[in-house]
């Protein structure tokens, strides 16, 4: 086991911040290339007219998932040292629903709003102020929602754990699901394009 490097003390905290900046550059660059700096493209996902969000997201998930699976399989990456956030199922589902509504109302998510901001979009600045305000409200209400926030804790649980399947099998199923989603997305875009022409 050689990786994760940071957890094996190959470098210190200060160096990790430089790495954070470098990784961030790659992240921001990819998001901008994908068109994620445009709220109209992000919103189009929810009207089936442009499925870029789904395509980019699932390709990225599948790529990283296969990489992690393979590197841990050959014994290079110690998966137990990679941070996976604990599952608190109900607060996470409720949070996801609220966040999804915020996505289509606001047009961005936090990461994409920073990319939109960096490429000059004024509505992205307003959105970021909204995110800041939302986090402030959450923290102020925290004493009242603390019990809910910590409820339904299931610990560090993954899909293979939960469904009792092998890690490799779940990876395979997710790849199949992604390929199906890509085919559906390509088909859906063609249908919507035709619909647009006939209008």
């Amino acid at each position: 086991m050689n990786a994760p490097f940071y957890k094996f003390d190959l470098f210190g905290f200060d160096v990790s911040l430089i790495i954070a900046f470098a990784i961030g550059i790659g992240f921001g660059f990819a998001l901008e290339r994908g068109g994620f700096g445009s709220a109209r493209i992000l919103a189009a996902q929810f009207y089936f007219t442009n499925m870029r969000v789904l395509k980019v997201m699932f390709t990225a998930i599948v790529t990283a998932m296969i990489g992690v699976f393979y590197l841990s399989y050959i014994g290079y990456l110690d998966l137990s040292l990679v941070f996976i956030s604990d599952t608190y199922i109900i607060p996470q589902v409720v949070g996801g629903l609220i966040l999804g509504m915020g996505f289509i109302i606001g047009g961005y998510c936090p990461g994409t709003s920073f990319v939109a901001f960096s490429t000059g979009k004024k509505d992205a600045i307003v959105f970021i102020l909204g995110v800041t305000f939302g986090i402030f409200i959450f923290a102020e209400l925290f004493p009242f929602i603390e019990d809910f926030y910590y409820s339904t804790n299931m610990g560090r649980v993954t899909l293979p754990d939960y469904f009792g399947l092998s890690y490799g099998m779940v990876v395979f199923l997710v790849v199949l699901m992604a390929l199906g989603a890509f085919a559906a997305a390509e088909w859906g875009e063609r249908v919507m394009a035709k619909k647009g022409e006939s209008k």
Binding site: F5, G24, K55, T59, S85, V93, M101
Partner: protein, 195 residues
């Protein structure tokens, strides 16, 4: 090194282009989504291998909010269970944080990509039928919901859906499905803003 100089010379060129012949700069089309996704996946994989953690965005805003509240009302910030978790023992500033530096990189990387493609220009993203003022109001409301939802879910699209999704976390996948459900549920009512 030559590659870097090459990129920098292109950036410089774009800056001068934008100043002088702004209207003539043709924005390049966005890249193939599958290639972009593959590249993004490799960035995420690099974060796992080098750091043992994934990407994030909303956590950086939490650090900034904490520092802001702590500057205005330190006693209040320290007594609040959420802010105090970001303040720690007070020896390190919440801004000296991995996610804060990562998000600074995101801003720089997005700008770099936009510059190279001639896509950096001011403006408001909205459909033709909606006023800028209305768009700003919705941007703020959406952002507020997003900030609140991200804190409740312990992460946003980057930290939960992308990162947790690749690591096959149960909560992350439930979160991701909920995000799509929430978005599609409200999309119909928001169509004027975008189409």
């Amino acid at each position: 090194m030559t590659a870097l100089t090459h990129i920098l010379s292109k950036v410089k060129l774009q800056v001068t282009d934008n100043e002088h012949t702004y209207s003539h700069v043709e924005a390049k089309p966005y890249s193939n989504p599958y290639y972009v996704g593959f590249g993004l996946g490799l960035v995420l994989l690099a974060a796992f291998v080098i750091m043992g953690r994934g990407l994030g965005a909303s956590g950086a805003v939490s650090s900034v909010v904490t520092v802001g509240v702590n500057a205005v009302a330190p006693e209040h910030a320290q007594s609040n269970g959420y802010f105090s978790s970001y303040l720690g023992d007070g020896s390190v500033s919440p801004l000296k944080d991995w996610l804060v530096f990562e998000v600074l990189g995101v801003i720089f990387g997005g700008f770099l990509s936009g510059m190279l493609a001639g896509r950096v220009k001011g403006g408001v993203e909205k459909g033709p039928r909606v006023k800028t003022r209305t768009r700003f109001i919705f941007a703020f409301i959406g952002g507020t919901l997003m900030g609140f939802g991200a804190k409740l879910a312990r992460g946003c699209t980057s930290g939960q859906a992308l990162t947790g999704g690749a690591l096959l976390g149960l909560g992350s996948w439930a979160f991701m499905l909920a995000v799509f459900a929430g978005g599609y549920a409200v999309a119909y009512f928001m169509r004027r803003q975008w189409r």
